[in-house]
């Protein structure tokens, strides 16, 4: 898209330069007799590395008449052909002062700027003056071909990170599977969930579980599903009422499944019905309006907010506070954390939300992955200290390891 825009604006630039020329011709007849500028030199064209092909990069040494010298070069026009004898087609231009042009083709064959892969191509760059008639062409460069790459070499650091993190994960999960005891520090928000369900039972009021505005494939929503399954199981055991209004239909589908099987696990499959988990609407504030209504009418004993939240976080949490509910929140949306912290009784900050599912289940496999995450964090601390030292002493070699190319 960006390239289309660039190309488009370059076309516009060429066009407006042309217009300008028409006007200035009348005003200044000297433009007609500009001396042709010196050509560019050292033109090289090479395949763009680490890409999907159909792209080449041109570099050249600007004409001596660009800025210095006669200072007449207005822009450079780029020409391409599939044979050294032409015909050459104008494919774009750059203003003077530039010495590089990225010829990025569009992938569709029908597109005008389609660059075939594995085909010999020839390039030429013209130095153009304000009068487009007066120009000097460079020598033709070619043949050159563009290729599609199977492996992105600039992304090696990410590959290493994947391997290291994956390895840590595998290791600790297998350790946990063997039955090793793993310590986890207590989290206030998690402990509160159990109390809150008990409180709801005593008061005979429902529990409101909000999965947020995330879609079913967001990690925060997936974490929320796991927490929901624990909550639903306990709710089923205590025979309390559960209300789960949903924002996204797929989330609703999954949540129904989750709650249903939790009721089954708790041994009360008959207590479940599909209307506990229902869809409202996929509009942020319409959803909020409806949930606000539910809060004020059903007066839930506990509101649990887990998942992705945006500006509505404070509206929900304040209304819940007015209704007198205990509120437990957890989100990975950094911008909304302040509001949950201020308005809720307990808040799981960022990563704690993901950890919560492991905490609630106490399954060794889940705890093992927590341990792996902690080790990765320790690695971050060590790397940062090394990185700081490197930055202070100017060892760019170290910091370059972390450079990921796109």
């Amino acid at each position: 898209m960006r390239y289309i825009f660039v190309i488009f604006s370059l076309v516009f630039l060429t066009f407006s330069a042309g217009l300008a020329q028409v006007d200035t011709l009348g005003a200044d007849s000297t433009l007609l007799n500009i001396a042709p500028p010196a050509p560019i030199s050292n033109l090289t064209v090479y395949d763009k590395a680490n890409d999907h092909g159909h792209a080449l990069i041109l570099e050249w040494k600007p004409s001596p008449d660009d800025a210095a010298g006669k200072n007449t070069v207005m822009m450079y026009e780029i020409y391409r052909s599939e044979s050294p004898d032409g015909p050459f087609e104008n494919i774009g231009s750059v203003p003077s002062g530039n010495s590089r042009y990225d010829n990025i083709g569009i992938l569709e064959k029908e597109a005008r700027d389609y660059i075939p892969d594995n085909t010999d191509l020839y390039y030429r760059v013209d130095a153009v003056t304000i009068n487009p008639e007066i120009r000097t062409s460079s020598e033709i460069f070619g043949p050159v071909r563009s290729y599609s790459n199977w492996f992105h070499r600039g992304r090696v650091p990410v590959l290493f990170a994947v391997l290291i993190f994956g390895g840590l994960m595998m290791y600790f999960v297998s350790v946990a599977r063997k039955g090793a005891e793993l310590y986890v520090r207590p989290l206030a928000g998690i402990a509160a969930v159990d109390d809150a369900i008990g409180r709801a039972t005593e008061m005979g009021r429902p529990i409101l579980y909000i999965l947020g505005l995330g879609t079913a494939d967001m990690i925060s929503t997936i974490a929320s599903f796991t927490i929901l399954s624990r909550v639903a199981k306990q709710v089923a055991e205590y025979q309390t009422q559960l209300i789960v209004p949903c924002y996204d239909p797929i989330v609703m589908t999954v949540a129904q499944e989750v709650v249903k099987s939790s009721y089954l696990d708790a041994g009360h499959p008959d207590a479940y019905n599909d209307d506990m988990v229902f869809y409202i609407t996929t509009n942020q504030f319409a959803y909020v309006a409806a949930v606000n209504g539910i809060m004020m009418r059903e007066l839930p004993a506990t509101n649990v907010y887990m998942g992705k939240f945006y500006a509505e976080s404070l509206i929900l949490a304040e209304t819940g506070a007015v209704a007198g509910s205990i509120q437990i929140a957890g989100t990975d949306e950094v911008g909304q954390l302040p509001f949950f912290i201020v308005a809720c009784d307990y808040t799981l900050i960022g990563e704690e939300l993901y950890a919560a599912s492991a905490y609630l289940g106490r399954e060794p496999l889940m705890l093992g992955s927590l341990k792996a995450q902690d080790y990765a964090k320790a690695a971050v601390i060590i790397l940062s200290i090394l990185g700081i030292i490197a930055a202070n002493f100017g060892w760019t070699a170290f910091t370059n390891i972390f450079k990921v190319l796109d």
Partner: protein, 270 residues
């Protein structure tokens, strides 16, 4: 319903009916459909006030606006989805006849038959409504979750993890020219050496302590505990500052609404 409630509601209705008449008269000659325009502006004002009345307490007007809002928004979202995704994206790939019927541009392509896959997966998802074959819907779910899990795995490893870690590599001694120079040029200007260094130190230590706060499998005691304490302090300071900063934007929203009521509805010259 109590009699006072009924009287109150009747008064409100009369008030807005009058507003409709006045608005329609004001629009006469300006707008073609002045009666409709008068109604719509009055309706918008009525709904605005109905929502605001929730601040006092839940009431029938809020309930009305809320339920109306839910219905309208669901239908809006559905028709937009239908036109843009099914008609705009799917039909041009699947069938020339359908494309012609809906007057969208058919895009021929060698691999268009691939677009039958999501249609099948979508229909499998609808199996959810069946009592006996509901489990089939998990297949399409698995496709969505798997694909995005892979996508997220890489995306977050790259942007939130590697990028954030490497941007923590800042020099702690900015522009260091010896301790004498440091003290002799000590000042509090934002681009001065001291403030720059302070910023880098705070960022570095803040990030470290913050990460330590998020350790789950180690007891937060001793030095470790103290670092995690500093970490939560930094988080709290930040949350406070963000909260304070957001106030401005929220007030602007209210200004917008109140201006609507005063200018567009009541027609005050402000």
């Amino acid at each position: 319903m109590k009699r006072t409630t009924l009287i109150l509601m009747a008064l409100v209705v009369i008030f807005f009916a009058l507003s409709w008449i006045f608005k329609a008269m004001a629009f006469k000659g300006v707008e073609e459909h002045y009666i409709l325009q008068g109604f719509l502006v009055t309706l918008a004002a009525f709904l605005t006030l109905s929502i605001m009345s929730f601040l006092y307490k839940d009431n029938p007007f809020y309930k009305f606006a809320e339920h109306l809002f839910v219905g309208i928004s669901a239908a809006f979202w559905m028709s937009m989805g239908f036109w843009s995704t099914i008609v705009g994206n799917l039909f041009p790939r699947l069938s020339e006849g359908m494309s012609n019927f809906f007057k969208v541009h058919y895009i021929p392509g060698d691999y268009n038959f691939f677009f039958y896959v999501p249609v099948i997966l979508g229909i499998l998802l609808l199996m959810r409504l069946s009592r006996n074959y509901g489990w089939i819907s998990r297949w399409s779910l698995a496709f969505i979750v798997g694909t995005t899990a892979g996508l997220n795995f890489i995306r977050y490893l790259r942007s939130d993890f590697i990028n954030q870690v490497s941007s923590t590599f800042v020099p702690l001694l900015v522009d260091w020219q010896g301790i004498g120079h440091f003290f002799s040029s000590l000042n509090l200007s934002a681009s001065g050496q001291f403030i720059m260094m302070l910023a880098n130190w705070v960022i570095f230590l803040g990030v470290m302590c913050g990460i330590i706060y998020f350790f789950f499998s180690k007891e937060h005691t001793g030095l470790f505990g103290r670092a995690s304490r500093v970490g939560i302090w930094i988080l709290m300071i930040t949350f406070g500052a963000s909260f304070g900063y957001t106030v401005m934007g929220r007030i602007s929203l209210l200004v917008g609404r109140i201006t609507f009521l005063f200018r567009d509805w009541l027609g005050l010259n402000i």
